[in-house]
């Protein structure tokens, strides 16, 4: 074996394992509110906005409050520390990133899943009424 090959192999193995280790650490996991509550860590929760419950921007604390139902049927208040994102009302689902504190999800990052407003059948359903 040539020394170059050995050094090369060692370097590749080191690089790959470091990369994969760091990659694994940088990943989160999508969870429900209950799991988010028990872990207390920064997590991603997928859910749907509950329009019937109170929502709006709090001009005092500068947070956008709304209620979201996760995929397991749990509903929690979300306190999002930025203004309401674009396309919010139209979203098919939301991904909220943050920590649970005292039953409230404190979020600083939100992804609005808006499938290029795909399949908006609501107008047509209205026609029938």
């Amino acid at each position: 074996m040539k020394p170059r090959v050995i050094i090369g192999t060692v370097a590749i193995v080191l690089f790959t394992s470091l990369l994969m280790w760091n990659f694994g650490n940088s990943l989160g996991s999508y969870v429900g509110f209950e799991e988010a509550e028990t872990s207390g860590n920064r997590v991603h929760v997928i859910g749907k906005w509950v329009p019937d419950m109170p929502h709006g921007f709090d001009n005092q604390r500068m947070v956008f409050n709304f209620y979201m139902e996760d995929n397991y049927g749990q509903v929690r208040r979300i306190s999002y520390n930025k203004p309401k994102p674009n396309n919010f009302e139209d979203a098919e689902s939301l991904v909220v990133v943050g920590k649970m504190r005292n039953g409230v999800m404190l979020s600083d990052d939100m992804l609005v899943k808006c499938p290029s407003k795909y399949n908006d059948a609501s107008n047509l359903e209205m026609v029938n009424l």
């Binding site: 760091n22 990943l27 996991s29 500068m62 930025k82």
Partner: protein, 855 residues
Amino acid sequence: MIGTIGSFSVIIAFLASLGAFVFYFLAAQKENKSFERTAHLLFGFHGAMMFLGSALLVYLLLTNQFQYFYVYNYTSSDLSNVYLWAAFYSGQEGSFMLWILCSFLVGMGLIRWTSDTYRAPVMFFMTMTHVFLISMIIGVTVFGVHIGASPFRLTSAEFAHLPVFINNPSFIPAEGSGLNDLLRSPWIIIHPPIIFLGFAMMAIPFAYALASLWKRKYHEWIYPALPWTLGANLCLLVAIFLGGYWAYETLSFGGYWAWDPVENASLVPWILGTAGIHTMLIQKRSKIAHKASIIFAILAYVTIVYQTFLTRSGVLGDSSVHSFVDLGLYNQLLLFIMAVSLSGLLLYLLRMRELPSPENETPMFSREFFMFSGAMTLLLVSLVIILGTSAPIIGRLFVANPTPPQPQFYNDWTLPFAIAIAFLTVLTQYLWWNKYKDTETFAGVLITPTISASIITVALIVVSGVINIIYMVYLFAAVFTIIGNGMVMARLIKLTPKMIGGSVTHIGFGVLLIGFLGAAYDTPLLDRSTINYNAAVERGEIFDEDGFRVYQTMDVMKLDMNVPKRINDRYNVTFTNATITHENRPGEQQYRIEFEDLRTGRTFAVHPVVYPMIANSSAGNMSWTVDPEVRMGWLRDIYVYVSGSSLVEKENNRIENQTTFQAVADILMNGYEESLRNSEINNLVRLRPGSTRQLGQYNIRFDRFINMTESELPENAVVGVRARIEIINLQTRHAEVHEPVYAILFEDGVNTIYSPPLSIESFGFDVMFETIDTRTDEAHFRLIGIEEQVEDEWIIVAIERKPLVSVVWLGTFLLMFGFSIAIYRRWGDERKAYKRARHYKDEQEIADKAENQNS
């Protein structure tokens, strides 16, 4: 009818591309000219059919034929023709068509310009991509398997389950659901066509590489492939720039880059294309790069298809802002990527032993070695990005339901590679243009750039206050790249100006690196009290009404009209005006925020915009979006958007109260002024003792009730109280205390209320103690005349400082310029070589003929 013709034209185009595919194969295999001519005809015919299909789709869009689902779903009758045209590629089906059209035009260019040796096999692989791409939009069912999603399918078929279509199958919706307002921007006209042109052109090096393997001509292919790869890279670069600028300037994504999978989808092929360009350049001089050139050419296209798969198959689902919804193309896309990568892999393995390789080891100290190392580093960078983007798939090895990696992952891993590449560009450029007899002389030459770069870096660190040690190394690498490549360029420009493409590009890279550093120092600009509040939140000293600790800091501020706030101890900002302009769409609002730079004394104003998203709104539920305003500067941008305002709230109330069945756009257009006249500006303040309320620029504090003594009571009064109130003008800080009277009189057998207006001359309005609500213990005060001066107007505004964004744009322009020079040069070389080969071949043929005649 038109739809049927359209569907058929796509189906015929598909069959023609299959025919061309077969004939190109035969032509390449048997080297038969008549097969090749047939294949060209079929290829041209399939392109004509695709143009026909696209023209019909555009016609349907322009004429608002909502019985077609694609038209219904992406347009509405209020759209201008420009956006109706853009709607052609706003959806997934149409964007495949655009891709195919771009690729077809590029293919015609290839037929025209490719040499005889490679033409048939190159076109064979190009046509292969067409077969797959057209299959995505063909929309037919064969043996129970549904293939592709046709852009010509009917709305009634798409919504067959809805009652309206069950009752009346020939129902045609009167209005479409409209183009998303975020896409109604001039950028949509130009951004997608360029990106698909880039995608189409990146197929060319792929096709050339596979053709070279097939025909065992491993060397010559790089001459024609090089300018095409450069062209593909230039397109991707321009598209990435436009996308970043669009996201930053008008979409309020907060920055120009977010490591979103769709962004990565064009970045990774660009990086691999760049690596390929470098190995092709090495290949001209040494045999170490033949294999690598082929691999990079294949990989660049494979990653384009792979990222297309990721973004369009629904795999990414929740991890990207703009991933498409699955149209049922998962299997087809999977097949496409398998075909592209397997054809590459198999051909490569088949020919691997024959491929040229260097006779002896390349010395460490050589331009080939350095350049090759640079290309390999680029490969590593792209592997990291691919890994991150593939998190929804690969991440399952680590966690269930993996999320995308944090941006930190990408930043951490690309930074050291960027540093390495920066150094390698300088070393390679010096060695490329000059020969040095040993390491010492070479090191000697590098002394000047190293020392000057060190001095400049130290100066920059002192001025900018960078304290992170890794950033310091990074900064040095960037400055070193600019200076090193700059010195090479300065020498070249005198000798052969058309060869400076490489050095200009590398300088652009260095400038980009400096610009990227700015993103680490983005900061919200806030006033002193908000900054103090945020510090208290961090220390855990703030609690909410229920006694829970508050964790969230505030990155936005409230500005009252004409009340200035000092932000970051640097600027005085004042919100001075809000108007409904209707400029680009009904109901669009424009705000005016004035800045005064306390350091330089200069003033400027920004005009952020807020507008209703009509396509997504109904009268009861308005959806608003923001269009930020960027004040560009060489060193820093000031980025401002209004995220909420009293004007928006007023409009929401007005629209909610409309009982008519007007379209939202009409409500927005009409009646705002009228409703403003009719609406009573609220001059009523309800206060409990001890509480305070703000009305406009005044603070009204209700201290307490004061019972009136007998002597004080007005005539005939049964009972009477005075209210002690303090009114403060927040702007002038002038305060006054007053005690308006409320009494009940018994006159002529009836109770009447006595509450005389008390005139406050210095403020210019009257106070009236109107009534007492005994249930809530609230006193009602009416401030008559305050309407004229109190426009209770406010905005919630986000102001951010984003350093060095202009430097990023500058770096991008330098890259574009460098690529363009390189394309010009390489294309010229290739044309000359082509003509020489032609000429040589003609002479050969004449000689052959002469020989035949002689014998």
